[in-house]
C-alpha cells in the first residue's frame, strides 16, 4: 500500500519547490497585470477593482469588478501569512502546482476507479506530472503570472469536480465548483480566450463520457440550476462588461469581435503570421514552440519526448488487444484520444491545407479572433487532453507488464518529465532578465525599497485631489522601481494602483497628448508644456532619480520611442524638471522626489471655465503654442465649431506626392486575370466587378481607384491572352471606341457570348474605366489640392498603361496594318486622357498650400511657419505669395515654436498660396553625352558606350544620349524634371541607377533601369519624376529614338534639373482680431464659487455659490456619457483643504466611501444639463449649466456621479446573494448525500 503515498510525496515536493524560486522576502511583481494585488491587496482593492474607472491619468471607464473576490481572497490569505507578500506569492505558486497535479491525478483515478489499483495510481501520477511539468506549459505564463494563468490549475480542478458529480451524482461537487469560480472570477470575466478554449471542449467530452461511457443520465434540472447560479454569481462583472462592450461600439472589445478590421486584420492577419512558424512535430511531442535560445528545457531531452506519442499509440494497440479489460475503459481511452486529436488540430492549425482553410474561415465568426494566438490559447486544453489520453493509454500498457518492467517504465517516465523540467523547477521562469541586451542584467525578482514604501504612503495620504506625472516617462505607461538588492519592478504605476492617485506614467497613458508632450519636451517649449500640464490637471511630478532604472541599464524597454525625445540621463532629467514651473515638496532618500506645480500654473480637477476657445482637437496643440494665450482655466471646446470663424486655420499642403505619383517603385497595380473573357464564367466575373464597384458609390477616391484597377485588369487580360483577341478594324477614332462596347444584359448573354474577345471591345472597356476615373475627378466637389493629387495619380497610371499597351501592340503577331490601326487608336486615346488630367509642372522650390476659411467673409489672419517642421529648409531666405500679399519671415526667438510670416486678409472658402525657397540642382543643364550622332538642340561631346558596365540583356545603351547624375544624398527624395520638344518624333526616356557599396554588397553594382517612358510631342512638354535615393551612387538619364517608329529623330531639351525635395513646412494662420472678442473665443465674466469634495472616484459633491448666470463646469476626467450631474439639497460647507483663483475654486476634505446611505441619494433623480454635456480639452467632461437647469437657484449642491457604477452595486448584491444560496445548497447537498450513502 506504500505506493499510495507517492502522490502525497510528489504533492509535498511540488509545494516545496516554489520556496526555492525567490529569496526570502523577495517578490516577482510587474508585467502587464502588475501583480500588485500580491504585494498590497487591500490598497489595490481600494484603488481600482471597486470602481468602474481606471486609476490612470485620464481615469477612463475600465471595469475591474471581477478582481474583487480574487483580491479579497489574497488579502485574507496575506493576513493569515503574517502579512508577507513573499509567502503569499510562494504559496500561491505551490498551490498552482499541487492543485494542477492532484486534479489530473484525481481525474485519472476517477476514470480508472475499479481497475487494478497499483497500475491506476502509477498511471495517474504520470498523467499528473505530464500535465504539471509539460514542456509546453512550463514556458507559458509563469513569468510574472497574470491572473489568467490561474487556468493552469483552476480549469482541471473544475473538470475534476464536474467529473465527480457525474460519478457520484452529488450536487455538492458542482456547487463547490461554482463557489470556486466566484473566488477566481477574473478567469470567467471578459471575453476570455482561455475559458472559451477549455470549457466547450471539456464539457463536450464530459457529455459524451456521461452518455456513452458511464451511460448515466444527467439531471437537467440540476444542470440548469448550476448554469443559472453561475450566471448569477458572476452577474456583478458580466453585466457591466456586456454593457460596456455592447453599449459602446467603439470599445476595443466590440471592435475586436465584430469589426472587419478586428476579425480579419488583427485576427486572421496575426493568425496567418503565426501559422508559418508553428511546428506540428513540436505539438505532437508536447515540446514548446520556441526558438532554442528561449527554451528552458535541456536540449538532449527533446528526442526522448517521442516516447510520449509512441506510448500513446502502443497503449491504443494494447487497448485493442486487451480483451479481458473493461470495454468502457477502452471506449474512454478512444474518446480521450479523439479529443486529444481535436485539440491537436486546434493548436496546430495546419493539419493539411484543407484544415487550414477551415480554420481561417472560423475567423468570420464574431469573437473567434480571440484565438489568433492559437498556440498559447489552446495549450492548456491540448496538454490536458494529451495527459489524460496518454495516462489512460499507459494504463493498458502497465497492466500487460510484469512488476519490474512496470516500475522501470514508471521511473523512466517520471525521470524524463522531471529532468526536462529541471530548469523550471529551480525557478528559471521566475528569474528572467527584463533588460535583455543591456550591460548589467536586471532580473524580475526584487525586494521593494522601504524608502519607496514611505513615499507611496505619503502620496496615498496626501489630501489634495491632483494628478501625478511620473518621471522618467516610459513607453507603455510602466513605472520602474529598483529593488534594494538588485532586480526591478517594471509594471503599471504603483501611484495609481496602490496609492489611488491618477497618474500619467507614460506615452500610452497620455494619449491623445503623447506626441505633443514629447515634442514639447524635445523642443524645450516650456511655455506650452506648462499649459499642457495645467490642462491635464497635473498637480505633482513624481521623479525617480535612480540611475539604475534609466540610462544604460535600460536602453530599450520600457523607454523605446520616448527615449528619442526625453532627457538622455538622470542628470538631464533633473535639469529638465527644474525648468518646469514646479517647487519641490519632499524627497524620500536620494531617489524619490515629489514636486508640485506652482499654483499659478495648476488647474484643479473641477473648475468653472474662464476662457473658452472654440478649436478643433488637432488645433489644440497650436493654441497651446501661442505664448500670448491666456493661462488658467482655459477650455477648448470642439463642438459646434462648424462654419464659425475659426481661431486657427491649418493649411493643406499640396506636396510633391500629390503632384507626382511616379514614385519608385511605380505604384500602378495590374490585377491577375484568371479567366479568359470568352470563358463561361466571365459574365459572373463582370457581375462581381460591378458589385465591387457599387461598394464605392459614396467615395470618389474609392471609385477612382476601382475604375483604374478594372481598367488595368483589361490590360492584364490582353497581356495574358493577347493572341486570342481578334482585331475587327471597325473603329475610326477614340470617341467611337468609348461607346463601342456595352456590357450585355442577362438576356443578351447567349447572343453576345464571346464578343468580349476583340481588341476593340477590350480597349473600349479599358477606356470606360479611364473615363469613369477622369469624370470623378472633374465632377467631384473637392479641393484643388485633392484634384491635383488625383489627376497626378491618373496621369501616372495612364502613362504606365500606355507603355504596356504600346509594347503589346508592337510585340503582337498581328499584321503591320493591324498594328498601325491599333497604335493610332491608342495614341488618340492617351492623348485625349493625358490632356484631361494634365496638371501644371511642379517646381520643387515653390511649395504650394491651400487654406479654407469656412465663413463667407474676408478675415484677417497672421501666418506662421511651424519651426518644428522646417527640416533642412532655410525658411529665413524664403518668401510666401498669398494673392497680392508677399510675406517674408521675420525670425523669432529660440523659445518660440512659430516663425511669423505676416498678416493677410484670408478670403472666404479655399485659397491657394505658395512658399518659395532656395534650392540648387545637383546636375548641370548643358552637358549631355551622345552615344552616337543624333540631331539635338545642344552641343554634345561624343563618348562610347563601353565605359558603362551594363547588362546587355537588362538594358541596351546602343543609341541616343545620356546624362550622368552624381552627388546624391542618402535617404532623400529628388525631383528630376525638364521640358522637351520632339517635333513629332517618338523618344524613349529612361533612368538607370547604381547603388553605393554596402556591407552586404561591398562591390559597386551595375546600373539598373528604374523606368522607361515614350514621349512624342510637337509642343514643349514637361517631364518630372520623383526619385527615392536610399543609397544612390550615380544615375544615368538616357534618351533615345524609339525603335522602328520614325526615321528622323530630333529632340530639344531645356531646364533639366535634379533637385533634392525639401520638407514642406507646416504653415498656420491665427486670427489677429482681439482674441477675447471674436466669436470663437469667449470670456466668462460672471463665475460662481465652487467647493468640490471627492466621495469616491466615481462620485463628487460640488457646492455652488453665486451662480447668477450660465457657466461651464469642467471635470478633468475622461469624457463619458455616464458622468451625470444631479442637484441635491444644499449641504453644509465642509472644511476647505485647498483654495485656488482667489477662493473661486475650493477643495473639501476628500473621502473614499464605497457604500453608505448617501450612495443611493441620487437614485431615481433626474440628471440636469444632460443636453449641455460635451467634451472639452479633447478628453474632459464639461456641462453648460443654465440657471433654469437648477430652478433659477444661485446657491446649491451638485452631485457628479458615474451612473454606470450603480449597475455594479445592484448586480454585486445579487451575486453575493447567489453565493450565499450556493453555500447553503452545498451544505444541504453534502448532508443529503451523506444520508443517502448511509
Amino acid at each position: 500500500m506504500k505506493y499510495k503515498l507517492i502522490p502525497l510525496f510528489i504533492s509535498i515536493a511540488l509545494a516545496i519547490v516554489p520556496f526555492f524560486w525567490l529569496k526570502l522576502g523577495w517578490i516577482d511583481i510587474g508585467g502587464d497585470s502588475s501583480r500588485l494585488y500580491f504585494y498590497d491587496p487591500l490598497n489595490y482593492l481600494k484603488s481600482f477593482p471597486l470602481w468602474g474607472i481606471a486609476p490612470d491619468g485620464f481615469a477612463g471607464q475600465n471595469i475591474g469588478y471581477h478582481l474583487i473576490p480574487f483580491v479579497s481572497f489574497l488579502y485574507i490569505l496575506k493576513l493569515l501569512l503574517f502579512n508577507s507578500s513573499y509567502l503569499l506569492i510562494t504559496l500561491f505558486n505551490s498551490m498552482q502546482l499541487v492543485v494542477a497535479f492532484l486534479s489530473i491525478y484525481g481525474i485519472v483515478r476517477t476514470f480508472l476507479s475499479g481497475e487494478k489499483e497499483k497500475e491506476a495510481v502509477f498511471t495517474a501520477i504520470v498523467g499528473g506530472l505530464l500535465y504539471t511539468l509539460s514542456p509546453g506549459l512550463i514556458h507559458t505564463g509563469w513569468d510574472r503570472a497574470m491572473y489568467t494563468h490561474n487556468q493552469f490549475f483552476l480549469y482541471p480542478f473544475l473538470f475534476f469536480l464536474t467529473l465527480k458529480y457525474i460519478h457520484t451524482k452529488n450536487f455538492a461537487f458542482l456547487l463547490i465548483a461554482l463557489l470556486t469560480t466566484f473566488v477566481f472570477a477574473p478567469n470567467f470575466s471578459q471575453p476570455s480566450p482561455g475559458f472559451f478554449a477549455f470549457f466547450p471542449l471539456a464539457f463536450l467530452y464530459l457529455f459524451f463520457y456521461a452518455k456513452l461511457i458511464k451511460k448515466t443520465t444527467l439531471n437537467l434540472k440540476y444542470l440548469l440550476l448550476a448554469a443559472f447560479l453561475f450566471v448569477t454569481i458572476h452577474l456583478f462583472h458580466l453585466l457591466p462588461q456586456a454593457m460596456a462592450i455592447f453599449g459602446d461600439q467603439s470599445s476595443a472589445f466590440y471592435q475586436a469581435a465584430f469589426s472587419e478590421e478586428g476579425k480579419i486584420s488583427r485576427g486572421l492577419g496575426y493568425f496567418t503570421s503565426q501559422v508559418g512558424v508553428t511546428k506540428f512535430v513540436n505539438n505532437l511531442t508536447t515540446l514548446p514552440q520556441l526558438a532554442p535560445w528561449q527554451s528552458l528545457i535541456p536540449k538532449f531531452t527533446e528526442p526522448f519526448w517521442f516516447i510520449i506519442p509512441a506510448l500513446l499509440i502502443l497503449g491504443l494497440i494494447a487497448a485493442g488487444k486487451a480483451n479481458a479489460t473493461n470495454s468502457l475503459q477502452k471506449k474512454n481511452v478512444l474518446l480521450l484520444s479523439l479529443f486529444f486529436l481535436l485539440a491537436l488540430f486546434l493548436i496546430t492549425a495546419k493539419v493539411t491545407d484543407t484544415g487550414l482553410f477551415l480554420y481561417k474561415s472560423l475567423f468570420n465568426i464574431p469573437g473567434f479572433a480571440m484565438f489568433r494566438n492559437y498556440v498559447g490559447q489552446f495549450a492548456y486544453i491540448y496538454t490536458f487532453f494529451y495527459a489524460l489520453a496518454f495516462s489512460h493509454a499507459l494504463f493498458f500498457i502497465l497492466i500487460l507488464l510484469n512488476k519490474l518492467h512496470r516500475l522501470l517504465l514508471f521511473l523512466s517516465l517520471t525521470l524524463l518529465i522531471t529532468v526536462t523540467a529541471s530548469q523550471f523547477l529551480r525557478g528559471d521562469m521566475i528569474n528572467l532578465v527584463i533588460n535583455p541586451g543591456a550591460k548589467t542584467q536586471v532580473r524580475i525578482p526584487t525586494r521593494v525599497d522601504p524608502v519607496y514604501e514611505q513615499a507611496l504612503d505619503y502620496i496615498r495620504k496626501d489630501p489634495i485631489d491632483g494628478k501625478y506625472l511620473t518621471l522618467p516617462f516610459t513607453e507603455a505607461g510602466l513605472q520602474m522601481l529598483a529593488g534594494t538588492e538588485g532586480g526591478a519592478y517594471m509594471g503599471p504605476s504603483t501611484i495609481a494602483y496602490l496609492a489611488g492617485k491618477k497618474d500619467f506614467s507614460g506615452y500610452q497613458v497620455l494619449s491623445p497628448f503623447s506626441e505633443l508632450f514629447l515634442r514639447l519636451v524635445r523642443d524645450q517649449n516650456f511655455a506650452s508644456l506648462n499649459q499642457l500640464l495645467g490642462l491635464l490637471n497635473i498637480k505633482y511630478i513624481f521623479y525617480n532619480s535612480d540611475p539604475y532604472i534609466y540610462g544604460e541599464n535600460f536602453p530599450e524597454l520600457p523607454y523605446q520611442h520616448v527615449n528619442k525625445f526625453m532627457p538622455e540621463d538622470q542628470e538631464s532629467y533633473r535639469s529638465f524638471i527644474e525648468r518646469l514651473p514646479v517647487e519641490k515638496v519632499v524627497s524620500f532618500g536620494d531617489k524619490y522626489h515629489i514636486y508640485k506645480l506652482k499654483e499659478s500654473e495648476y488647474t484643479p480637477h473641477i473648475y468653472v471655465a474662464q476662457t473658452i476657445f472654440k478649436v478643433l482637437p488637432d488645433e489644440l496643440e497650436h493654441v497651446l503654442g501661442f505664448p500670448s494665450s491666456p493661462r488658467n482655466r482655459i477650455t477648448f471646446e470642439s463642438a459646434l465649431v462648424g462654419k464659425h470663424a475659426r481661431f486657427l486655420l491649418k493649411t493643406d499642403k499640396i506636396d510633391i506626392y500629390r503632384r507626382i505619383a511616379k514614385d519608385f517603385p511605380i505604384p500602378v497595380r495590374y490585377p491577375f486575370a484568371k479567366w479568359r473573357p470568352d470563358a463561361i464564367v466571365y459574365p459572373l466575373i463582370m457581375l462581381k466587378e460591378k458589385i465591387q464597384a457599387g461598394k464605392f458609390k459614396e467615395s470618389e477616391d474609392g471609385r477612382i481607384d476601382i475604375s483604374l484597377l478594372f481598367s488595368n485588369k483589361r490590360i492584364s487580360e490582353l497581356a495574358r491572352w493577347g493572341g486570342g483577341f481578334k482585331i475587327l478594324g471597325n473603329v475610326r477614332n477614340q470617341q467611337e471606341l468609348l461607346g463601342y462596347f456595352k456590357e450585355p444584359t442577362f438576356l443578351e448573354l447567349p447572343r453576345r457570348f464571346g464578343t468580349y474577345m476583340t481588341w476593340e471591345a477590350n480597349l473600349s472597356r479599358y477606356m470606360q474605366g479611364a473615363e469613369e476615373a477622369v469624370k470623378q475627378v472633374e465632377q467631384a466637389k473637392k479641393s484643388n489640392a485633392w484634384q491635383i493629387e488625383k489627376k497626378s495619380q491618373i496621369y501616372e497610371a495612364l502613362l504606365d498603361n500606355q507603355k504596356l499597351l504600346n509594347i503589346m501592340v508592337k510585340d503582337s503577331d498581328n499584321s503591320v496594318k493591324d498594328k498601325e490601326y491599333l497604335q493610332r487608336l491608342l495614341d488618340e486615346v492617351f492623348l485625349h486622357y493625358l490632356q484631361r488630367v494634365r496638371v501644371e509642372k511642379f517646381t520643387p522650390t515653390v511649395l504650394e498650400y491651400s487654406i479654407n476659411n469656412p465663413t463667407d467673409q474676408m478675415i484677417p489672419y497672421e501666418a506662421y511657419i511651424v519651426k518644428d517642421t522646417v527640416g533642412d529648409v532655410d525658411v529665413l531666405q524664403s518668401k510666401s505669395q498669398f494673392g497680392e500679399y508677399v510675406l517674408t519671415p521675420s525670425g523669432s526667438s529660440p523659445d518660440n515654436p512659430l516663425i511669423p510670416l505676416g498678416t493677410v486678409q484670408v478670403p472666404p472658402h479655399e485659397s491657394l498660396f505658395t512658399l518659395t525657397i532656395p534650392r540648387q540642382s545637383i546636375v548641370d543643364n548643358q552637358a549631355w553625352d551622345a552615344v552616337e550622332s543624333v540631331m539635338t538642340s545642344s552641343d554634345l561631346a561624343t563618348v562610347t558606350l563601353q565605359s558603362f558596365p551594363l547588362k546587355k540583356k537588362a538594358y541596351s545603351l546602343d543609341t541616343g544620349f545620356i546624362k550622368f547624375i552624381k552627388n546624391w544624398e542618402a535617404k532623400s527624395h529628388y525631383l528630376l524634371s525638364f521640358e522637351y520638344q520632339t517635333y513629332g518624333d517618338t523618344f524613349e526616356m529612361s533612368l538607370l541607377l547604381r547603388e553605393k557599396p554596402t556591407k552586404e554588397k561591398p562591390e559597386l553594382g551595375e546600373y539598373g533601369p528604374v523606368f522607361t517612358e515614350k514621349k512624342n510631342t510637337r509642343e514643349w512638354e514637361s517631364f518630372s519624376a520623383v526619385i527615392q535615393s536610399n543609397n544612390i551612387e550615380s544615375a544615368i538619364f538616357h534618351i533615345k529614338p524609339a525603335e522602328g517608329r520614325v526615321k528622323q529623330t530630333r529632340i530639344d531639351i531645356r531646364d533639366f534639373s535634379v533637385i533634392k525635395l525639401p520638407t514642406q513646412p507646416d504653415i498656420l494662420f491665427k486670427r489677429v482680431d482681439k482674441d477675447l472678442t471674436v466669436a470663437n473665443v469667449s470670456e466668462v465674466s460672471s463665475r460662481p464659487t465652487i467647493q468640490y469634495t471627492k466621495i469616491n472616484p466615481t462620485k463628487y459633491s460640488i457646492r455652488v455659490q453665486g451662480a447668477k448666470e450660465p457657466y461651464m463646469l469642467v471635470f478633468s476626467d475622461a469624457f463619458s456619457g455616464n458622468w451625470e450631474l444631479f442637484k441635491t439639497e444644499r449641504g453644509a460647507p465642509e472644511k476647505i483643504i485647498a483654495s485656488y483663483f482667489n477662493g473661486e475654486v475650493n477643495e473639501g476634505m476628500h473621502k473614499n466611501v464605497f457604500l453608505n446611505m448617501d450612495t443611493f441619494k441620487t437614485w431615481g433623480k433626474r440628471a440636469i444639463a444632460q443636453d449641455g454635456h460635451f467634451m472639452v480639452n479633447n478628453y474632459a467632461n464639461a456641462w453648460k449649466i443654465e440657471p433654469e437647469d437648477v430652478g433659477g437657484e444661485t446657491d446649491y449642491t451638485l452631485i457628479l456621479e458615474l451612473t454606470s457604477q450603480r449597475i455594479f452595486y445592484i448586480t454585486f448584491a445579487i451575486s453575493l446573494f447567489a453565493v450565499f444560496i450556493t453555500i447553503i445548497l452545498t451544505l444541504f447537498s453534502f448532508r443529503a448525500y451523506g444520508k443517502k450513502a448511509k
Partner: protein, 108 residues
C-alpha cells in the same frame, strides 16, 4: 457498389499495398505537400484495410512506423519540411485507428 469494387481489387491487393508504401515514401519526399494526394492515399489505405481485413492494430502500427521515421528525421534535421508532412500522416493514421477501434468495440 463498394463491395463490387473490393471484389475487383482483391486479386491486386498485394500490389496495392506495395503501391501504397511507395506512394507514401514519394509523398513524404516531395517538396510540396498536396491534400489531394494525402486524401487519395488515405482512401487507398481504407481500401487496403478492407481488402486485407486489417484491424485497428495495423493502422496504429503504421502510425508508429511514421513516428519512428519522424523521430530519425527530427534527430538529424529539425527544420526538415518532411517533419510536418510525417506528423500529418501520424495524425490521420491515429484518427483512422481510433475510429476503427470504436467500430471493433461496437461489433464485439
Amino acid at each position: 457498389m463498394f463491395g463490387r469494387l473490393l471484389t475487383v481489387l482483391r486479386p491486386f491487393r498485394m500490389l496495392m499495398l506495395v503501391l501504397f508504401l511507395i506512394a507514401i515514401l514519394v509523398d513524404t519526399l516531395l517538396p510540396i505537400p498536396s491534400d489531394i494526394r494525402l486524401f487519395l492515399l488515405l482512401f487507398l489505405w481504407l481500401l487496403i484495410i478492407h481488402l486485407f481485413s486489417f484491424k485497428s492494430t495495423a493502422t496504429f502500427k503504421v502510425a508508429l512506423g511514421f513516428l519512428a521515421v519522424l523521430f530519425f528525421i527530427f534527430l538529424f534535421a529539425r527544420n526538415n519540411p518532411s517533419l510536418d508532412r510525417l506528423s500529418t500522416w501520424v495524425y490521420f493514421f491515429l484518427l483512422i485507428g481510433i475510429i476503427q477501434q470504436f467500430r471493433e468495440i461496437a461489433s464485439q
